[in-house]
Symmetry: C2
Subunit: 283 residues, 2 copies
């Protein structure tokens, strides 16, 4: 393994393998060609024609969401989508735009719509060094079971803001009091575009840093994390380089943390690959 | 003006307006088509054919550099290159590769070879806020005269390392003692690709942060900076957004600083454009 291997794994998207999903003349997703073919059976909702698929259901976001939900029902029945997650994400051409419709989280990779999440690096100072709180994901998680994770991470569900998601997840995942979360600093975003078995993950992760008091110990409340460990930051970075122990995208968040805090030396042969590989253009 | 305007200005490169400069089967530069046409007169050094220009001079880096220098001499005489800078940059497909040849800095945009620089954010804590040392470039600078700049910035000349360039420039530009410079943290790289009057700037800037003591005052020694000011970081960021007072690429370095230190709010409408627009793939 290497740092760049993780970056490449998260960016294995190939344009030739997908067609754009277009709504109102703007791209809102990337459909793998097999997924686009499966959509052709729902011509009242999606017009699949040659090199693109167009959303043709009309009405407001509620009406379009209802029409898409019927399609998702059928896709779940046909095993194109594994199952309903009963949590919806807003679909929009760009962050901040009016949502075109809401989509069940389970169907997001099928449609390749952009998903937004929040990741928190919880760290302590330790003399001249730093330690990073790391969680281990529960064995029954559908995505990346048993893998190491940030202390707090979660998707931004429809209607929730970035900061609101941070506070909610910090409480559920690590029992971090709101008064502490308020000190978290927004420090950028990591983005990647990845083909998985299900389709395309086109993800943007808003990244926060939070320096935690030495006596703070996170406690999970929602069953998604089975335990936490306070790892030397340098060990976490080595573990990123040498193993696949961390969830695929958490490798990128930790590399971004390492870079921003001067924990990677400029003489590291992968320095520029890391410094330039954690962000994609917002196309 | 807006944050995104500065990012766009530094990334106005259009692939259709250039041809690759290839050496040993690998791209080492981007030649604007008019510049490629001007190179066609030197067939013993460059073979310009259709959609690419190939370096055909043979020999080691010294021999190739000498052959290219003769071409640069002619290009200066013909006003394709403004003048010799008498400082050479290594030309290589990727950072860390063996240099193919050395090129006078004045000719770098003509050939569109990638140039590497070092920029230092010198800052002080000020209660809960931060202040940033900002220099004003001398009126006789060829590039961006009178514009605001980082406390220290400079190109990485051939044979110089990243850290060595930082120490050298910190001494010449701001008289920062080596014992202080040693505390500077490498915090990533900013990159952009820009067409200028002269050709293509394909730049990678290694970025360092240095917290300076409250009583430190920079002093310029090389005549490149006429004065320094200690600006509230928030004012510097506003000035980036609202004006063209900073040198084009320094806007990007300050935005990167702002982002990493939590000085931009996630609700800023340009947050994601900034978070994703300061880095280019290393193609």
């Amino acid at each position: 393994m290497s740092f760049a291997d993780h970056i490449r794994a998260c960016n294995n998207f190939e344009r030739a393998r997908v067609v754009p999903l277009v709504a109102g003349g703007r791209r809102v997703g990337w459909l793998r060609r097999d997924n686009a073919a499966a959509l052709a059976r729902f011509p009242r909702v999606f017009a699949v024609e040659g090199e693109q698929a167009c959303l043709v259901a009309v009405g407001d976001a509620d009406a379009v969401s209802a029409a898409v939900d019927e399609v998702v029902d059928a896709l779940v029945a046909q095993n194109h989508v594994p199952k309903w997650r009963n949590e919806t994400f807003d679909v929009m051409p760009r962050w901040g735009d009016q949502p075109v419709f809401r989509l069940d989280r389970g169907a997001v990779p099928f449609f390749g719509t952009r998903a937004y999440g929040v990741h928190l690096n919880g760290y302590c100072r330790d003399g001249d060094g730093m330690r990073l709180w790391v969680g281990r994901r529960a064995p029954d998680k559908r995505v990346a079971p048993d893998k190491l994770d940030n202390i707090v991470a979660g998707g931004i569900g429809n209607g929730h803001g970035i900061a609101a998601t941070l506070f909610k997840e910090a409480e559920e995942e690590a029992a971090i009091p709101a008064a502490l979360v308020e000190r978290a600093l927004p420090v950028g975003a990591v983005s990647y575009r990845m083909e998985t078995e299900l389709g395309i993950r086109d993800d943007v992760l808003f990244v926060y840093d939070l320096e935690l008091p030495a006596d703070f110990v996170p406690q999970n409340r929602d069953g998604e994390i089975v335990d936490f460990a306070l790892m030397h930051a340098d060990s976490a970075i080595e573990r990123v380089r040498d193993t696949a122990d961390f969830k695929f995208n958490v490798n990128l968040v930790i590399l971004n943390f390492a870079l921003r805090h001067g924990l990677l030396g400029v003489d590291d042969p992968e320095y520029l690959e890391v410094a330039s590989g954690l962000h994609r253009p917002l196309d």
